[in-house]
């Protein structure tokens, strides 16, 4: 049941309609309404948004909700609650579950769980059977079952021949192909960026060349086939530049950046803290700046969190043995506000665009705007509220956040999904 809502006096930012003005947002029947009738206004639930920003619900095209099979780390319900707490109303799940989502049955299972989720949860399917990189998964059946893209995220499709066929085949179904760009032969046993810090720590390095080679490969395959290839979590300066040039040449490639790659560098790894271990790894200050520049000039299209929960006992290990990944949904907005708006002087509507409309458009998701008639997915946040973030008080099942115990600024107050308040004042409703 959706509510009739009247969000009053907020700074309404909707990049899709170029709106940035203090005003009201009306919601009726699960949709954004131009106005409410007198009777509706009387019965409407009023949300006072004075001093707050009202924007489209955030969209994340890169999360791991671990269901089915790894639900000790997260499940679709807890993941969606973490999303709601972070202001996200639409998320796209990666298919590296257990079993992997390479068939319509598994997608059906995910969709069933998604119906009870706090936010809109869309599945992706695998590019290859079992994510083994040997045989194409049934992209057509996956599409019919409801996937919005295909990817072997976590693993790169190594074979050029198979990747070529995948993008040409998926194009027939208008399915974007998302690739985790990593030349495995260059990264055997690697656990962090290759460079001065890995040299000092004696850890096996992951050279950015391994990402750049696959980004270049994908650009070539996209140019050759016309298929849309999306590069996931770009971490290297050279990859940013490769995508930038490809776009200039009119090649149909897109790319995303994570909050952690714009906020942190390999210097954070000095104490072997496994909450800074992820794949691709944190890189240098030069890479970090290049990714920010890429977001500024459009070389990179959107923010994706790569929310990757792992149970505490899995992360509580020798650095080499801990799994890759950190949570991100509950911290993405404040981290992006800090890095992009505060430190790098991005305009706030532009950052919201990177986290809403642009992300939604990449996968043609019905989300990312407050235009009249659009689904009433709304995020209301206080850009100035500072609080001590404690992962233990969050909604994800896992605690593996590098920001736990730190002060963050920009707190989500209310999240509305399809006209229903799902998160308010720190509580899932």
């Amino acid at each position: 049941m959706s509510d009739t809502l009247w969000i009053k006096n907020g700074r309404v930012i909707d990049p899709a309609t170029k709106r940035d003005k203090v005003g009201d947002i009306f919601i009726a029947g699960g949709k954004i309404a131009a106005s409410l009738t007198g009777a509706q206004k009387k019965s409407a639930k009023i949300i006072d948004a004075k001093g707050l920003v009202v924007c489209p619900g955030l969209v994340d095209i890169h999360v791991h909700f671990r269901e089915p099979g790894q639900t000790h780390k997260e499940n679709i319900l807890t993941g969606s609650q973490a999303a709601a707490a972070g202001g996200f109303t639409t998320v796209v799940c990666m298919p590296n579950t257990s079993p992997v989502a390479d068939n319509a049955g598994t997608i059906e299972l995910i969709n069933n769980a998604a119906r009870k989720a706090a936010v809109h949860v869309y599945p992706t399917g695998c590019i290859t059977v079992g994510m083994k990189g040997q045989q194409l998964a049934p992209h057509g059946s996956l599409k019919k079952a409801g996937v919005v893209a295909i990817t072997d995220d976590g693993l790169c499709v190594e074979s050029n021949q198979l990747m070529r066929n995948a993008v040409e085949y998926a194009k027939m179904f208008d399915l974007p192909v998302l690739d985790h760009c990593q030349d495995e032969s260059l990264t055997k046993g690697a656990v962090m960026n290759e460079g001065t810090v890995s040299t000092r720590l004696g850890l096996k390095g992951w050279p950015h060349a391994a990402e750049d080679i696959i980004v270049a490969r994908n650009i070539i395959l996209s140019a050759y086939s016309g298929a849309h290839i999306h590069m996931q979590h770009i971490s290297s300066a050279m990859s940013v530049e490769l995508v930038r040039r490809a776009k200039k040449d009119g090649i149909n490639v897109t790319a995303e950046a994570t909050p952690h790659h714009i906020a942190l560098t390999e210097e954070s790894l000095g104490t072997y803290d496994t909450n800074f271990k992820m794949n691709p790894p944190l890189r240098t200050e030069q890479d970090r700046k290049a990714i920010i520049a890429g977001l500024r000039d459009g070389a990179l299209d959107c923010i994706g969190t790569d929310h990757a929960p792992h149970a505490p006992d899995e992360k509580d290990k020798e650095f080499d043995y801990a799994p890759n990944g950190i949570t991100g949904l509950e911290t993405a907005l404040p981290v992006c506000l800090d890095v992009l708006v505060k430190q790098n002087k991005f305009k706030l509507p532009f950052v919201i665009d990177l986290m809403t409309r642009k992300a939604a458009n990449l996968l043609k998701l019905p989300a990312g705007t407050l235009a009249e008639g659009a689904p009433a997915d709304v995020c209301i946040f206080d850009p100035n509220e500072t609080w001590l973030y404690d992962a233990k008080k969050g909604f994800s099942k896992s605690l593996n956040s590098p920001w736990s115990g730190q002060k963050l600024t920009g707190r989500v107050k209310t999240t509305i999904v399809a006209g229903k308040v799902v998160f308010q004042n720190g509580r899932i409703t």
Binding site: R200, L201, G202, L203
Partner: protein, 315 residues
């Protein structure tokens, strides 16, 4: 200055003064090793567990010897006999050892950073006996101890480290120790095993053996491991030996009073010719003996002993 460290994890974190303290303490123990009765009561009643999760003979025996000469009780176990093969985590293994009333753990582990990890988990001191490609602090201290024995002050001395630097914890710990003590360090070997990143640690990187050896006071060789060849880091052991092996001809490029070192185990005929390893310029076995004194010093200090107490009450 009193010794305040409970754990002994890296050379990188030590100040120059702390390195001097350990070396001075080791010096006192080294003199004891020349006595007829070598055993001292310093750690009587303490139990030290050598947790060696990666194979080692020399270092483990050396730590055991050091502990026994300090009158500590020792228990050693290696990966094969430990419950880690049954899937127990390092944290659980170590906490069990602590619960068994061990007073100290000496850890050898293939994962870099694991001693630091353990030091955060345990209440008892942790001594690093080599972690991955990260550090092997007691090896570096026994190396500089031996160099000082032969050369006096290391300030301005030229030290060449030759071999597989990329994967070497011995190289990293020596680089930190030697640069802190004012030596000039040049690392030499094939470019795939001696990457330029090391310049950030304050050393010169060279692939020219002749020019590097010319003014060296110390030539430290590192073991070449066959698995590096399998991973494609160099074409063959034969090629390595022909390009970088220390043989008689190349030994003539070295100053006559320079010393040759090797942390062991040596590959005779690969990184060093047999007759050079056995020559008077080689201090390889003196390194081994000095290793006991250095490890006695480290165990003694981490157990709460103070440097200034070694010379007086023990002698």
């Amino acid at each position: 200055m009193p010794w305040h460290r409970k754990h002994f994890l890296t050379i990188e974190e030590l100040s120059r003064a702390e390195i001097e303290q350990v070396l001075a303490t080791a010096g006192a123990f080294r003199r004891i090793l020349d006595r007829k009765v070598k055993k001292v009561p310093a750690l009587r009643g303490k139990t030290i567990v050598n947790l060696f999760l990666e194979p080692s003979t020399r270092t483990r025996i050396s730590f055991e010897m050091a502990a026994k000469l300090l009158s500590a009780d020792t228990i050693s176990f290696d990966a094969a006999s430990s419950s880690t093969t049954k899937g127990e985590t390092l944290r659980d293994t170590a906490q069990n050892i602590q619960a068994l009333n061990a007073d100290m753990i000496v850890l050898r582990h293939s994962a870099s950073g694991s001693p630091l990890y353990l030091s955060r988990v345990l209440g008892i001191p942790v001594v690093n006996a080599g972690d991955g490609a990260h550090e092997h602090p007691t090896q570096a201290l026994l190396d500089v101890f031996t160099m000082r024995e032969k050369l006096g002050s290391l300030k301005g001395r030229k030290v060449v480290i030759l071999g597989d630097i990329l994967f070497s914890r011995v190289a990293r710990s020596n680089i930190h120790a030697l640069t802190k003590l004012g030596a000039d360090v040049t690392i030499v070997g094939p470019s795939t095993l001696v990457p330029h990143w090391f310049e950030s640690l304050g050393v010169k990187v060279s692939h020219n053996l002749r020019s590097a050896l010319g003014d060296a006071d110390v030539v430290m060789l590192l073991r070449i491991q066959h698995e590096r060849q399998a991973a494609g880091h160099f074409p063959s052991v034969g090629e390595y030996t022909s390009m970088f092996g220390l043989n008689k001809t190349r030994a003539e490029w070295i100053k006559p009073d320079a010393i040759i070192m090797h942390p062991g185990p040596i590959n005779r005929g690969v990184e060093i010719d047999s007759d050079l390893a056995d020559s008077p310029r080689s201090v390889i076995l003196q390194q081994v003996t000095n290793g006991i004194a250095v490890r006695m010093a480290v165990l003694y200090l981490c157990a709460g002993g103070q440097p200034e107490h070694v010379t007086t009450p023990l002698e």
